[in-house]
Point group: C2
Chain length 159, copies 2
Protein backbone atom coordinates (compact mmCIF):
# COMPACT_ATOMS: atom_id res chain seq x y z
CA UNK A 1 0.00 0.00 0.00
CA UNK A 2 1.41 3.41 -0.95
CA UNK A 3 1.50 6.29 1.52
CA UNK A 4 -1.48 8.00 -0.11
CA UNK A 5 -3.50 4.77 0.09
CA UNK A 6 -2.60 4.45 3.77
CA UNK A 7 -3.91 7.97 4.43
CA UNK A 8 -7.18 7.20 2.64
CA UNK A 9 -7.53 3.89 4.48
CA UNK A 10 -7.28 5.70 7.84
CA UNK A 11 -10.00 8.16 6.87
CA UNK A 12 -12.31 5.38 5.67
CA UNK A 13 -11.65 3.37 8.86
CA UNK A 14 -12.78 6.33 11.00
CA UNK A 15 -15.92 6.77 8.89
CA UNK A 16 -16.78 3.09 9.18
CA UNK A 17 -16.14 3.05 12.94
CA UNK A 18 -18.54 5.94 13.52
CA UNK A 19 -21.12 4.54 11.08
CA UNK A 20 -21.02 1.20 12.85
CA UNK A 21 -21.44 2.91 16.22
CA UNK A 22 -24.52 4.79 14.96
CA UNK A 23 -25.85 1.62 13.37
CA UNK A 24 -25.61 -0.37 16.62
CA UNK A 25 -27.13 2.49 18.56
CA UNK A 26 -30.17 3.21 16.40
CA UNK A 27 -31.08 -0.25 15.10
CA UNK A 28 -31.30 -1.57 18.68
CA UNK A 29 -34.04 0.89 19.68
CA UNK A 30 -37.75 0.13 19.75
CA UNK A 31 -40.59 2.52 18.98
CA UNK A 32 -40.77 3.91 22.53
CA UNK A 33 -37.02 4.48 22.80
CA UNK A 34 -36.94 6.25 19.42
CA UNK A 35 -39.50 8.73 20.75
CA UNK A 36 -37.09 9.89 23.48
CA UNK A 37 -35.52 13.33 23.16
CA UNK A 38 -31.77 14.01 23.43
CA UNK A 39 -32.60 16.77 25.92
CA UNK A 40 -35.92 18.31 27.05
CA UNK A 41 -37.63 19.91 24.06
CA UNK A 42 -34.87 18.90 21.64
CA UNK A 43 -34.76 16.42 18.76
CA UNK A 44 -36.23 12.96 19.18
CA UNK A 45 -33.96 10.02 18.36
CA UNK A 46 -36.22 8.99 15.47
CA UNK A 47 -35.75 12.44 13.91
CA UNK A 48 -31.96 12.28 14.36
CA UNK A 49 -31.85 8.85 12.73
CA UNK A 50 -33.75 10.25 9.76
CA UNK A 51 -31.54 13.35 9.71
CA UNK A 52 -28.41 11.20 9.52
CA UNK A 53 -29.98 8.97 6.85
CA UNK A 54 -30.87 12.02 4.75
CA UNK A 55 -27.38 13.50 5.17
CA UNK A 56 -25.81 10.23 4.06
CA UNK A 57 -28.33 9.83 1.24
CA UNK A 58 -27.12 13.21 -0.05
CA UNK A 59 -23.52 11.93 0.15
CA UNK A 60 -24.39 9.31 -2.49
CA UNK A 61 -24.97 12.17 -4.90
CA UNK A 62 -22.13 14.39 -3.65
CA UNK A 63 -19.63 11.56 -4.08
CA UNK A 64 -21.22 10.41 -7.33
CA UNK A 65 -21.58 6.77 -6.32
CA UNK A 66 -25.13 6.12 -7.47
CA UNK A 67 -28.74 7.18 -7.25
CA UNK A 68 -30.20 8.58 -4.07
CA UNK A 69 -32.59 6.34 -2.13
CA UNK A 70 -35.19 8.79 -0.73
CA UNK A 71 -34.42 12.35 -1.89
CA UNK A 72 -38.04 13.26 -1.07
CA UNK A 73 -37.26 12.92 2.66
CA UNK A 74 -34.85 15.90 2.59
CA UNK A 75 -37.88 18.12 3.15
CA UNK A 76 -38.64 16.32 6.41
CA UNK A 77 -35.18 15.73 7.87
CA UNK A 78 -32.93 18.45 6.38
CA UNK A 79 -35.18 21.44 5.69
CA UNK A 80 -37.65 21.15 8.58
CA UNK A 81 -37.13 20.82 12.36
CA UNK A 82 -38.47 17.91 14.40
CA UNK A 83 -42.23 17.87 15.14
CA UNK A 84 -43.10 20.09 12.17
CA UNK A 85 -44.00 17.26 9.77
CA UNK A 86 -45.19 13.66 9.90
CA UNK A 87 -42.34 11.15 9.76
CA UNK A 88 -42.01 7.95 7.71
CA UNK A 89 -42.51 4.73 9.71
CA UNK A 90 -39.62 3.19 11.63
CA UNK A 91 -39.54 0.26 9.20
CA UNK A 92 -39.11 2.67 6.30
CA UNK A 93 -36.33 4.59 8.10
CA UNK A 94 -34.58 1.37 9.08
CA UNK A 95 -34.56 0.08 5.48
CA UNK A 96 -33.51 3.50 4.17
CA UNK A 97 -30.58 3.78 6.60
CA UNK A 98 -29.36 0.27 5.69
CA UNK A 99 -29.66 0.82 1.94
CA UNK A 100 -27.88 4.18 2.06
CA UNK A 101 -25.03 2.77 4.19
CA UNK A 102 -24.51 -0.14 1.79
CA UNK A 103 -24.68 2.00 -1.34
CA UNK A 104 -22.18 4.49 0.09
CA UNK A 105 -19.73 1.89 1.36
CA UNK A 106 -19.89 -0.14 -1.87
CA UNK A 107 -19.19 3.05 -3.81
CA UNK A 108 -16.27 4.38 -1.80
CA UNK A 109 -14.54 0.98 -1.70
CA UNK A 110 -13.95 1.38 -5.44
CA UNK A 111 -12.42 4.88 -5.20
CA UNK A 112 -8.77 5.36 -6.13
CA UNK A 113 -6.69 8.10 -4.49
CA UNK A 114 -7.32 10.37 -7.46
CA UNK A 115 -11.07 9.75 -7.14
CA UNK A 116 -10.87 10.99 -3.54
CA UNK A 117 -8.97 14.10 -4.62
CA UNK A 118 -11.45 14.90 -7.40
CA UNK A 119 -14.11 17.54 -6.84
CA UNK A 120 -17.45 16.60 -5.33
CA UNK A 121 -20.60 17.30 -7.33
CA UNK A 122 -21.67 20.42 -5.39
CA UNK A 123 -18.59 22.47 -6.35
CA UNK A 124 -18.08 23.89 -9.85
CA UNK A 125 -14.91 23.21 -11.85
CA UNK A 126 -14.09 26.90 -11.58
CA UNK A 127 -14.36 27.04 -7.78
CA UNK A 128 -12.54 23.75 -7.42
CA UNK A 129 -9.56 25.15 -9.35
CA UNK A 130 -9.29 27.84 -6.64
CA UNK A 131 -10.12 25.59 -3.67
CA UNK A 132 -8.77 22.10 -4.38
CA UNK A 133 -9.55 20.90 -0.84
CA UNK A 134 -13.26 20.84 -1.76
CA UNK A 135 -12.78 17.26 -2.89
CA UNK A 136 -14.59 14.01 -2.15
CA UNK A 137 -12.36 13.33 0.85
CA UNK A 138 -13.57 16.54 2.51
CA UNK A 139 -17.16 15.26 2.18
CA UNK A 140 -16.21 12.04 3.96
CA UNK A 141 -14.30 13.90 6.69
CA UNK A 142 -17.01 16.46 7.41
CA UNK A 143 -19.84 13.91 7.34
CA UNK A 144 -17.95 11.63 9.71
CA UNK A 145 -17.71 14.55 12.13
CA UNK A 146 -21.38 15.40 11.59
CA UNK A 147 -22.18 11.81 12.56
CA UNK A 148 -20.02 12.07 15.71
CA UNK A 149 -21.74 15.34 16.62
CA UNK A 150 -25.16 13.68 16.66
CA UNK A 151 -23.92 10.43 18.25
CA UNK A 152 -22.70 12.62 21.11
CA UNK A 153 -26.21 14.00 21.51
CA UNK A 154 -27.87 10.61 21.19
CA UNK A 155 -25.64 9.21 23.93
CA UNK A 156 -27.24 11.67 26.37
CA UNK A 157 -30.60 9.93 25.93
CA UNK A 158 -29.29 6.37 25.73
CA UNK A 159 -26.38 6.09 28.16
CA UNK B 1 1.37 19.74 -3.51
CA UNK B 2 1.51 15.95 -4.01
CA UNK B 3 -1.58 13.78 -3.64
CA UNK B 4 -0.51 12.53 -0.21
CA UNK B 5 0.03 16.11 0.98
CA UNK B 6 -3.43 17.04 -0.28
CA UNK B 7 -4.95 14.19 1.74
CA UNK B 8 -3.13 15.30 4.88
CA UNK B 9 -4.12 18.93 4.30
CA UNK B 10 -7.80 17.94 4.19
CA UNK B 11 -7.54 16.07 7.48
CA UNK B 12 -5.77 18.98 9.18
CA UNK B 13 -8.34 21.44 7.80
CA UNK B 14 -11.17 19.43 9.38
CA UNK B 15 -9.32 19.29 12.73
CA UNK B 16 -8.72 23.04 12.68
CA UNK B 17 -12.33 23.78 11.73
CA UNK B 18 -13.67 21.78 14.68
CA UNK B 19 -11.05 23.16 17.06
CA UNK B 20 -11.93 26.69 16.04
CA UNK B 21 -15.63 25.96 16.56
CA UNK B 22 -14.95 24.67 20.08
CA UNK B 23 -12.67 27.61 20.78
CA UNK B 24 -15.33 30.17 19.80
CA UNK B 25 -17.95 28.28 21.76
CA UNK B 26 -16.12 27.86 25.07
CA UNK B 27 -14.03 31.03 25.25
CA UNK B 28 -17.19 33.16 24.86
CA UNK B 29 -18.83 31.74 28.00
CA UNK B 30 -18.83 33.39 31.41
CA UNK B 31 -18.73 31.63 34.78
CA UNK B 32 -22.52 31.19 34.98
CA UNK B 33 -22.82 29.80 31.46
CA UNK B 34 -19.97 27.35 32.06
CA UNK B 35 -21.93 25.93 35.01
CA UNK B 36 -24.79 24.88 32.71
CA UNK B 37 -25.28 21.19 32.00
CA UNK B 38 -25.60 19.71 28.50
CA UNK B 39 -28.72 17.88 29.73
CA UNK B 40 -30.30 17.49 33.19
CA UNK B 41 -27.84 15.71 35.49
CA UNK B 42 -25.16 15.45 32.78
CA UNK B 43 -21.76 17.09 32.36
CA UNK B 44 -21.36 20.79 32.97
CA UNK B 45 -19.79 22.81 30.15
CA UNK B 46 -16.80 23.67 32.34
CA UNK B 47 -16.13 19.96 32.82
CA UNK B 48 -16.40 19.27 29.08
CA UNK B 49 -13.99 22.11 28.33
CA UNK B 50 -11.50 20.57 30.75
CA UNK B 51 -12.16 17.10 29.31
CA UNK B 52 -11.36 18.31 25.80
CA UNK B 53 -8.26 20.18 27.04
CA UNK B 54 -7.00 17.02 28.78
CA UNK B 55 -7.68 14.88 25.70
CA UNK B 56 -5.76 17.32 23.52
CA UNK B 57 -3.00 17.66 26.11
CA UNK B 58 -2.55 13.88 25.83
CA UNK B 59 -2.32 14.26 22.03
CA UNK B 60 0.85 16.33 22.50
CA UNK B 61 2.47 13.20 23.91
CA UNK B 62 0.79 10.71 21.57
CA UNK B 63 1.96 12.68 18.53
CA UNK B 64 5.35 13.40 20.09
CA UNK B 65 5.26 17.14 19.51
CA UNK B 66 6.44 18.37 22.91
CA UNK B 67 5.88 18.29 26.63
CA UNK B 68 2.41 18.06 28.09
CA UNK B 69 1.02 21.20 29.71
CA UNK B 70 -1.03 19.87 32.69
CA UNK B 71 -0.75 16.06 32.87
CA UNK B 72 -1.86 16.27 36.51
CA UNK B 73 -5.37 17.28 35.35
CA UNK B 74 -5.96 13.85 33.72
CA UNK B 75 -7.14 12.64 37.12
CA UNK B 76 -9.88 15.29 37.16
CA UNK B 77 -11.05 15.32 33.55
CA UNK B 78 -10.21 11.88 32.13
CA UNK B 79 -10.35 9.45 35.05
CA UNK B 80 -13.14 10.98 37.13
CA UNK B 81 -16.69 12.05 36.24
CA UNK B 82 -18.00 15.59 36.68
CA UNK B 83 -18.82 16.71 40.24
CA UNK B 84 -16.51 14.15 41.86
CA UNK B 85 -13.52 16.47 42.30
CA UNK B 86 -12.79 20.19 42.61
CA UNK B 87 -11.96 21.82 39.27
CA UNK B 88 -9.19 24.28 38.39
CA UNK B 89 -10.33 27.90 37.96
CA UNK B 90 -11.75 29.06 34.63
CA UNK B 91 -8.67 31.25 34.09
CA UNK B 92 -6.43 28.19 34.45
CA UNK B 93 -8.58 26.13 32.06
CA UNK B 94 -8.70 28.96 29.55
CA UNK B 95 -4.89 29.35 29.54
CA UNK B 96 -4.43 25.57 29.43
CA UNK B 97 -6.77 25.15 26.43
CA UNK B 98 -4.99 27.94 24.52
CA UNK B 99 -1.50 26.63 25.27
CA UNK B 100 -2.39 23.05 24.31
CA UNK B 101 -4.03 24.18 21.04
CA UNK B 102 -0.98 26.23 20.07
CA UNK B 103 1.51 23.53 21.00
CA UNK B 104 -0.40 20.92 19.01
CA UNK B 105 -0.92 23.05 15.93
CA UNK B 106 2.68 24.26 15.90
CA UNK B 107 3.80 20.64 16.13
CA UNK B 108 1.60 19.16 13.42
CA UNK B 109 2.39 21.94 10.96
CA UNK B 110 5.93 20.57 10.80
CA UNK B 111 4.91 16.95 10.11
CA UNK B 112 5.77 15.40 6.76
CA UNK B 113 3.57 12.69 5.23
CA UNK B 114 5.89 10.03 6.62
CA UNK B 115 5.62 11.59 10.10
CA UNK B 116 1.84 11.20 9.86
CA UNK B 117 2.18 7.58 8.83
CA UNK B 118 4.60 6.77 11.65
CA UNK B 119 3.34 5.07 14.80
CA UNK B 120 2.02 7.11 17.69
CA UNK B 121 3.70 6.76 21.07
CA UNK B 122 1.01 4.53 22.66
CA UNK B 123 1.53 1.64 20.23
CA UNK B 124 4.57 -0.65 20.35
CA UNK B 125 6.76 -1.24 17.30
CA UNK B 126 5.63 -4.85 17.33
CA UNK B 127 1.90 -4.04 17.32
CA UNK B 128 2.41 -1.30 14.76
CA UNK B 129 4.02 -3.79 12.37
CA UNK B 130 0.75 -5.77 12.49
CA UNK B 131 -1.59 -2.76 12.51
CA UNK B 132 -0.02 0.04 10.45
CA UNK B 133 -3.17 2.16 10.63
CA UNK B 134 -2.37 2.92 14.29
CA UNK B 135 -0.39 5.91 13.11
CA UNK B 136 -0.37 9.58 14.04
CA UNK B 137 -3.04 10.38 11.48
CA UNK B 138 -5.46 8.04 13.25
CA UNK B 139 -4.93 10.05 16.45
CA UNK B 140 -5.84 13.25 14.64
CA UNK B 141 -8.89 11.66 12.99
CA UNK B 142 -10.29 10.08 16.15
CA UNK B 143 -9.67 13.16 18.31
CA UNK B 144 -11.36 15.39 15.74
CA UNK B 145 -14.42 13.15 15.98
CA UNK B 146 -14.21 13.12 19.77
CA UNK B 147 -14.28 16.91 19.64
CA UNK B 148 -17.34 16.88 17.34
CA UNK B 149 -19.07 14.43 19.68
CA UNK B 150 -18.81 16.84 22.61
CA UNK B 151 -19.51 19.96 20.53
CA UNK B 152 -22.79 18.27 19.60
CA UNK B 153 -23.61 17.91 23.29
CA UNK B 154 -22.51 21.43 24.13
CA UNK B 155 -24.76 22.84 21.41
CA UNK B 156 -27.76 21.48 23.34
CA UNK B 157 -27.01 23.84 26.21
CA UNK B 158 -25.92 26.82 24.12
CA UNK B 159 -28.12 26.90 21.03
Amino acid sequence: MGSDEMLVAGTIATWKAMLSRADKLFTALDVAALEEQVAPGRNRLIYLWGHLSATHDRMIELLGVGERVHPEFDAIFLSAPDRSMGLPSIEVIRAWWAKVSTRLNDGITKFSVSDWLARHTAVSEEDFAKEPLRNRLSILLTRTNHLSYHIGQTSLARK
